[in-house]
């Protein structure tokens, strides 16, 4: 274990190996949030990593014990704030599973559309920030970052027309969704995803024809199949290591079984494999949205009456664990209910928490520059890590 209380003066020990302890502190341009990695360096090679998290800890699990099932979904989006829709999805699905509430077909389709749009928006942010980490805020990375943000703005405009908020929504409620789509939204949605599809093709070409990008990402941060399952990482990290597991296909929820899509799997396990998996997921998400928009049924958007009081939703005694395939992996919510309006115990299975715990296993042996590339390809969001 590294000593975190070293003094400020750099003591270079010329007699032994060049050990240096460097702090990639909570304030760092590529920490993806607040994250502290205490690196033990030997020259340029990292030999030891201590990942210190908890800077964004708000104790959501205790908070949920004080809020009712009607109040909490809006707060749930603050865990994975980059992909807020899938965070709310997990909580609401768990409550519905215990209470055995039926969700109407229209609401299920709306949930799918919104979750896939969120996946595209989240992956755009991932691509932009990862390239920026590798290329510098004053360099080629910033160019791709600005292009991706420009596309993401279009999706956020769609969400604003639907819900009224750009980043943290309160779209899901127990029993269905809270809002219905306004007029003209479907045409705008189709136009947006067509545009994004063509532009993502351009970025893919720009990156994959670039020898520097390939040199930075191939062979870096290899996660073996066995390590991936043992640690419990999920999502593109798991599929990049050769395990063919996607919750939308293997354990279909919320009418995902009605849609046709392929699940990309790569066996290399390095940063480039994870990149390829996410790039294919862009296309697949657009395909799912198009199918859902074509087949959107009419009907009610919620099986519960409109909320008039916060303690309105009561769930019988029981427990359930509901999981959704978020952009980062498996987001899960384990609720134990005791029959009242508030949960007795709620556990968030954050995708990024499990994904981040792979870092101490794969970073030692790489150079300092690779730490940034690996962290970007793991794509953590610290709201989910710390909750």
């Amino acid at each position: 274990m590294l000593d975190v209380n070293e003094t400020t003066r750099v003591e270079m020990d010329w007699s032994g190996p060049e050990r240096l302890q460097m702090n990639m502190g909570p304030q760092h341009p590529s920490a993806h949030g607040v994250f502290r990695a205490i690196l033990g360096l030997q020259g340029e090679t990292v030999v030891d990593v201590d990942a210190v998290i908890g800077y964004l800890h708000r104790c959501h699990e205790k908070l949920s014990e004080t809020l009712t099932y009607a109040q909490y979904p809006s707060i749930a989006s603050k865990t994975d704030y980059v992909a807020a829709m899938t965070s709310e999805f997990a909580y609401v699905m768990a409550a519905e599973e215990i209470g055995k509430f039926e969700v109407p077909r229209r609401a299920q389709y709306l949930r799918v559309i919104v979750a896939e749009l969120q996946r595209i928006a989240s992956h755009l942010l991932w691509l932009g920030t990862w390239c920026m980490d590798m290329g510098g805020a004053l360099g080629g990375g910033a160019t791709i970052f600005l292009y991706c943000i420009r596309e993401r703005e279009d999706i956020l405009d769609l969400f604003e027309a639907l819900v009224g908020a750009r980043l943290l929504y309160g779209f899901f409620q127990v029993g269905g969704t809270r809002y219905d789509i306004p007029d003209g939204w479907i045409e705008k949605c189709r136009a947006t995803i067509d545009r994004i599809d063509s532009r993502v093709g351009e970025y893919e070409q720009m990156l994959e024809d670039n020898a520097f990008f390939l040199a930075r990402t191939q062979g870096v941060g290899v996660v073996s199949r066995e390590l991936a399952q043992d640690v419990g990482i999920a999502g593109p990290l798991l599929r990049g290591s050769g395990v063919n597991f996607d919750l939308r296909k293997n354990v279909p929820y919320s009418s995902y079984a009605d849609f046709e899509f392929t699940v990309p799997v790569e066996t290399a396990g390095d940063c480039y494999a994870r990149y390829k998996v996410r790039m294919v997921e862009f296309r697949e998400a657009s395909g799912i949205i198009r199918q859902a928009l074509d087949k959107l049924p009419s009907g009610p958007i919620s099986s519960r009456p409109a909320l008039k009081s916060v303690a309105q939703i009561r769930i019988p005694k029981g427990e359930a664990y509901a999981r959704v395939e978020g952009p980062r992996g498996e987001v899960g919510s384990y609720i134990i209910s005791d029959g009242s309006a508030k949960p007795y115990r709620m556990k968030w299975r954050g995708a990024s928490f499990s994904n981040l715990s792979i870092l101490p296993h794969i970073i030692p042996g790489h150079k300092v520059a690779d730490v940034v590339a690996i962290m970007g390809s793991v794509d953590p969001v610290f709201g989910e890590v710390d909750r």
């Binding site: 908890g54 640690v231 664990y321």
Partner: protein, 149 residues
């Protein structure tokens, strides 16, 4: 191994009758906790470690809950063990599943459960000099704490 074979092997090794459901809930006593983890990983084939957490049942004590999955055969096991009133020690699953490392640190942080033979048991989300374990039912939501420096 599929779900029925898993239930049969669990019944024969641990003598418990597991109800057929998704996921299958298996509850053992704390002294057989590590053995259960090993059985789930090696014999039932649940190599994917999903999560590990704890529940505070007030007078009845703490309960440690873990979930493991067999991705190929689609078998999910929910492993539980009731520690009993006043007990806050449990065997560690870190040597069976490497992902249990951070999850058990979080249980220690939030519930005060001490995991035996854990390689690096210290607080993970809260700062090292925090007093108390927040997710216990005895810890009030508005417990005052010194201002952050």
């Amino acid at each position: 191994m599929n779900a029925d074979q898993a239930r049969a092997s669990l019944a024969s090794t641990f003598g418990i009758d597991v109800a057929a459901a998704v996921p299958m809930v298996v509850s053992v006593s704390p002294d057989r906790w590590q053995e259960l983890g090993r059985h789930a990983k090696e014999i039932v084939g649940c190599r994917f470690f999903n999560f590990l957490t704890a529940v505070d049942w007030k007078e009845q004590g703490l309960e440690v809950v873990a979930r493991v999955d067999n991705l190929e055969d689609g078998v999910s096991l929910m492993l539980k063990t009731k520690l009993g009133p006043g007990v806050s020690n449990c065997a560690s699953l870190t040597h069976v599943y490497r992902g249990a490392n951070w999850m058990e640190r979080e249980c220690f942080d939030m519930f005060g459960i001490h995991f035996d033979n854990h390689p690096d048991l210290r607080r993970i989300l809260l700062e090292d000099n925090w007093e108390g374990h927040p997710l216990l039912k005895s810890y009030a939501v508005d417990t005052p704490h010194p201002p952050y420096r």
